[in-house]
Symmetry: C2
Subunit: 405 residues, 2 copies
């Protein structure tokens, strides 16, 4: 794979192309980059609101249905935005070509709504670029071996952009969004949140899986795999955003880089459950088959029997209920709603002992009970009552010196 | 081409799939046909209103733009409706597969927005049908040799349906619409209009080009070429509709089968214009290049000079104006707006002399001035003032014995 540094893959999210006015703004920006000698390859999401409109249409017919037809339906949103963006560029005298996944050979497996990209033909893109035609690529979509449209799941357009950059041998990809940088915490929750200028892939992956909505896990994972730097920046400002890079490129490593949260958590407790792993395998297999992502799992055993607790997204509770009913489990089931998962993330944690102690101390001082805990080399997460989220997050943000000076 | 009489291509128009409720209704109808042993192949248009929404989005960026991006944009409408219809069928326990033009190899030339189908792979369709999977095909779209989406122009989904039927060797195609039959005249204009049970391809083609909106010219032309009978019927009723068939299958040939009209006509008159055909060639070439369809053309010559008059669709007047300006013609230009073209059509006319005389007599008795006239073997058309359209149409409808008894 040859490095083609003049090629820049630019991805514009749903809010960036959310209206005709904003599409014109994006076209203006691309034109300036093109005139400055860049060779842009553009990836666009559906206009904001459009995917939700399509989801509602589908739900009116069958709220449970997922599969080939659903993916074809959702993929139409990107088709509209890339066509309009191409028209806006052509109006400015540039040559642009809107391209769908089947035209570019963005091949995936056949897991509808969660498809993974298996390969991308980059020849067509380089050919267009060599003729000064700006490729405008539909994000979020691929084609399976049968030639049917697949979609890549939430944040799929980011993944498309990184996959194209990797296939083209680009060093970086620009992800344009509605925030100027990645923050140390959600600024709506913590007004003192600071902007982060550099993050490691590992930190960003943890943040994504812990509730930060700026980038999605799979996109960062793919960028790490192919060492494509991600430049997250605002569509509405020109200043530099946040760089997500390999750890060795990151100069300073604060102990904790960010506080993240996920406010839509619920806990399911079962007692007593059959002893041994076969029951757990059956339960979590059944949940996975229904698309329920189980996050933290704990079990404990004493003379009274085995206890099991796990956290899920609150919106998946009805599916959990269905699965538990289908397994006819003879156990007391307790569901705790209105929970939140609060986490601190930082590659510096690996070399700084005592972070966990500081974490628990803060929550204890603020009298915040902890329901579940999980840790890794670079993060600590606790599930707490949602009503305590604000004060707990603010205290951790201060404790780990993330507040604005 | 083997005749596969069990296969039935069914095309549902925009109003037939215009809401979730109507899509469910169509699914119900297809299910019944399937359960009765039919092997349906379904073609669907975009939900009514959707194409207009997309056209407005495009117009907000560039009202003049036509081309690749525009066709990709418009084609998204059918993608939505076929996905939803497939979901509605699967909900009913049937197997259905939504299919886009690129998946079926519906190949066209590269004339965007007016593409002509060059070939269709029917193997994939017969393969699906043999597995009891109902193909749900996006109408209106094709792919050009480059693999880009093209669209077939107004009424394109009808053309898709006929092309599939021809490729599959079907004897007939069902066109489901919002009227139960083709009428002897527009019932909104002439309350006494009768339903027609059988029409020849030639009559239907004339009617289509003279303003009847039920079927489009190209669809009927293609059906005539491959001798595919068209059954026009209502989505909301089960009774038989109108059959459009080869002339030799038509039992009764009334002198006049229908009165049609086009209420959006305008006339352009030029005097004096340069003598000879070179000026006319230049003028009509320039108009064609701008996409202006010139309908009736007359010219006359006397000692004062050469006079030219032609009729166009009123909405094309601004393009005509542009072309005339660009040619810097040194002639007086008179534009007559608010005109209407009124026609009588019937294969019986070829064998019944005197139809033209009856036509002109009626208009003369009703004191309706005629601005332009054109005739063929099976039709007579006159451009008249729009304000006279109602009484003229009613009188002709009565004169040629088309009124309900």
């Amino acid at each position: 794979m040859k490095t083609q540094s003049e090629l820049v893959v630019k991805k514009f999210g749903g809010t960036s192309v959310g209206s005709i006015e904003r599409i014109e703004n994006v076209a203006e920006r691309i034109m300036q980059d093109f005139q400055n000698g860049q060779k842009p390859i553009v990836v666009a999401s559906a206009m904001s609101g459009e995917t939700n409109r399509l989801v509602r249409l589908a739900a009116d017919i069958n709220p449970q249905y997922r599969g080939l037809a659903y993916d074809m339906l959702l993929a139409s949103g990107e088709q509209v935005s890339i066509a309009l963006l191409s028209m806006a560029l052509e109006k400015r005298g540039l040559k642009a070509k809107p391209l769908l996944a089947y035209q570019l050979g963005i091949r995936t497996d056949s897991i509808f709504s969660q498809a993974k990209i298996t390969s991308v033909d980059s020849d067509k893109l380089t050919d267009l670029v060599s003729k000064d035609i700006i490729p405008i690529v539909a994000g979020f979509q691929g084609v399976n071996p049968d030639g049917s449209i697949t979609t890549l799941g939430r944040g799929g357009s980011d993944t498309t952009a990184v996959a194209l950059a990797a296939a083209l041998g680009c060093e970086q990809v620009e992800i344009y969004t509605d925030v100027p940088k990645v923050f140390t915490a959600d600024p709506r929750l913590i007004p003192k949140a600071r902007e982060i200028s550099r993050l490691s892939f590992e930190e960003m992956m943890e943040m994504a899986s812990l509730g930060s909505k700026v980038l999605h896990f799979r996109c960062v994972e793919l960028a790490a795999k192919f060492n494509v730097k991600i430049h997250v920046r605002s569509t509405f400002e020109t200043r530099e955003g946040t760089w997500v890079v390999a750890e060795d490129e990151k100069m300073e490593n604060p102990v904790v880089s960010a506080v993240t949260h996920d406010a839509s958590t619920a806990i399911v407790k079962l007692f007593p459950v059959p002893f041994g792993p076969s029951f757990l395998a059956l339960l979590f297999d059944s949940l996975a088959n229904k698309g329920v992502i189980v996050d933290i799992i704990t079990q404990s055993y004493n003379e009274e029997g085995q206890r099991l607790a796990f956290s899920v997204n609150e919106s998946d509770l009805y599916m959990v209920d269905e699965v538990l009913k289908s397994l006819s489990i003879d156990a007391k089931i307790v569901v705790l709603r209105d929970m939140a998962k609060l986490s601190v993330v930082g590659v510096g944690m690996a070399n700084h002992p005592g972070v966990a102690a500081r974490f628990f101390n803060v929550l204890s001082q603020k009298e915040v009970p902890i329901h579940l805990v999980t840790t890794s080399d670079i993060k600590i997460s606790a599930v707490i009552d949602r009503k305590n989220l604000d004060k707990a997050a603010q205290s951790l943000h201060t404790e780990f010196e993330l507040d604005k000076e």
